[in-house]
Amino acid sequence: MTKLSRRRFLQSSAAVAAGSVALPFAGLAQDDAILVGGLHDLSGGLDTSGIPMSQIFELALKEINDTGGLLGRQVKPVIYDPQSNMSLYSQYATQLALKDKVAVVHGGITSASRETIRPIFHRFKTLYFYNTLYEGGVCDRNEITLGTTPAQTVEKLIPYVMNLWGKKVYTVAADYNYGHITAAWFKRYVEENGGEVVETEFFPLDVTQFGSTIAKIQAAAPDIVLSAMVGTGHFGFYRQWAAAGMKSRIPMASTTFGAGGSEPIIMTPEEGDGIITSFGYYPTIDTPANIAWKEKIAAAYPSNTPVLSELAEVTWEGVMIWADAVREAGTLDREPILEVLESGKTYDMPAGKVSIDPLTHHAIRDVYIADLKDHEFIIKEKYEQVPPADTQMVCNLEEDPDANVHHEISLN
């Protein structure tokens, strides 16, 4: 076997840039525009989250072009649909990095999809923005993570609801990393606030029947049910909970209900009202910036208006923060852009103030608590500039700038 030397490797990459096409994966026409990659699931199980994210992504790029472009050039989206399929994620990531040579990629929804594409962008030195709330722990200088992590939301939510309802807590959570870690944070903050978690139950994502659990919860008679349920199968939990007449008896709080924006719509008011949640963004935030932003979206998508949630808003933030860093760096090169991003700037966004923690590349941001009423979240409380305490426990990019891992955050 002939060994492909590093030089050959670089040459062949350069050949891609020059636009040579060898297989039938023809790229876009090579004009002067700056290419920006977007990788969101537009079909399949994750499309409820992916479609709004992609719509906002396109709108943000359009906004940049409308306000004069970047470095005197237009920006142009390169959008692929990974169809909720991890192998397509890895292929499109490779394609964006090597073939399209995009300046930056925004996207990835589940942690599995992020861990599929993050190492690819790291390896091919393509700047990557992950604009999703997730379980925390990514330590990679090449990735900017803007969504909330459990420590940010759980820390605020728990004392709030315990103060309201009582100290005895029953946790139900999805049986995967996000659920486990969130449940662990639930436990820590419940105990720190002098309460007790009587039981934590995990549910595989495809479970649809919750009768026995609901009976168990009744037997345990907690003051609060904390939910970290995720996905379409788990919608049944909220529905069956209400059907058993439990909603008026035991209140519920969650840091996942409504994460993708669809639960508050799919659940009827009888089922959803009164569930208290905590996220980094709600469409009901009553600031001029948010109202103006929502108007902009309504104007751009008069029909088929995207469902707004933290995912969608943070995607907007990602594109805007990247554009700002490009303007300030005056180049598309990754290194100067990262330096700007690490400078600790604060950005005004529809969600409030956002800055990037240089040690973790995660967002320090405002966190809200809201109560669902008639499909709308009524904001109850706002906490300013909450740091990603969980990721800070395991990641320090100043000490280890070459880190390329996703830490499991363990609270034990």
Binding site: T208, S212, T232, R239, Q240, A243, G245
Partner: protein
């Protein structure tokens, strides 16, 4: 004591759930040997029919019990005419084609209705049993599961249509020779199987989140129940649902849902090892 009653009701409900999931598939697979991989999507379509029509102001019971089976049944007839009828006797091709159909339906429903539509909440409210309260709707599920079984049995056993269907499935050539339009029988059987699935989907709608991709959560359980049951549509579905439902629900109550699911699968595995043709024997002896 109260808890025991709750547990018994839960187990009954789990059994009914499996019966509802499996009944339509049992008709299509058991009688026609067509693997309908889009079974989950037929359920989904039933669910969508209910939420769309209640949204338009239709009474929820009418939507669940009349509109859902009607729409899905008609859709089933359409599918049979356009696709399935070319695939009789080609069990695997039917698998591939209905796999395609399931993708098509997921995508199509997303395109037409979108994937975030307000669902319907469970009707009838809650019932108190001692210190516990459970959805009254549970009894609706149990009632309809029982009704399904009795109705299918009655139709197959006592009506001329049932006789014709049984004759056609046993020996299509002979049935044709006796003047039965077998193509019609196939079409009707597929349509009825679809309608039953649609009704089940309608009944499940108030209990789950109705989204285009919901089908995948149900298809595994449905197949395992039908196959474990074996050839006899009623005895098979009923015995498999009872056995698997009580084992898995019992485990779920004792330990948790993961082991409940695992127990269901292991029970199915052991059963098939011991009774390689399913609980009710060989597939070709198409008794009831």
């Amino acid at each position: 004591m109260d808890y025991t009653i709750i547990v018994v009701i839960e187990i009954l409900r789990a059994i009914s759930w499996l019966v509802l999931l499996a009944a339509g598939l049992g008709i299509i697979f058991g009688m026609m040997r067509v693997i309908n991989f889009a079974h989950g999507e037929f359920l989904m379509l039933g669910g969508y029919t209910v939420i769309m029509s209640t949204k338009a102001g239709v009474n929820i019971w009418f939507a669940m019990l009349v509109l859902a089976p009607l729409c899905v049944g008609l859709f089933g007839v359409l599918v049979e005419r356009l696709v399935i009828r070319f695939l009789y006797g080609r069990i695997l091709d039917s698998l591939l084609a209905t796999w395609g159909l399931s993708l098509l339906m997921i995508g199509g429903v997303t395109l037409i209705f979108g994937n975030t539509v307000e669902g319907v909440s469970t009707p009838l409210g809650a019932v108190d049993i001692g210190a516990y309260s459970i959805p009254a709707y549970n009894f609706v599920l149990i009632f309809f599961a029982a009704l399904f079984m009795v109705a299918i049995w009655g139709v197959m056993k006592f009506t001329r249509a049932g006789l014709i269907a049984r004759a056609t499935m046993q020996n299509p050539a002979m049935a044709e020779a006796l003047g039965i339009r077998t193509t019609w029988v196939y079409m009707a059987t597929f349509g009825i199987g679809s309608a039953v699935t649609g009704l089940a989907g309608g009944l499940l709608a108030p209990l789950t989140g109705v989204v285009p991709t919901m089908g995948v959560n149900f298809v595994g359980q449905s197949f395992i129940t039908v196959i474990t049951g074996g050839a006899s549509m009623i005895a098979g579905t009923l015995s498999a649902s009872t056995l698997l439902g009580s084992i898995s629900q019992g485990m779920t109550i004792l330990t948790g849902p993961v082991y409940g699911d695992a127990a269901l699968l292991l029970a199915a595995l052991v059963l098939l090892r011991l009774l390689p043709q399913g609980i009710t024997g060989r597939i070709f002896t198409r008794s009831l």
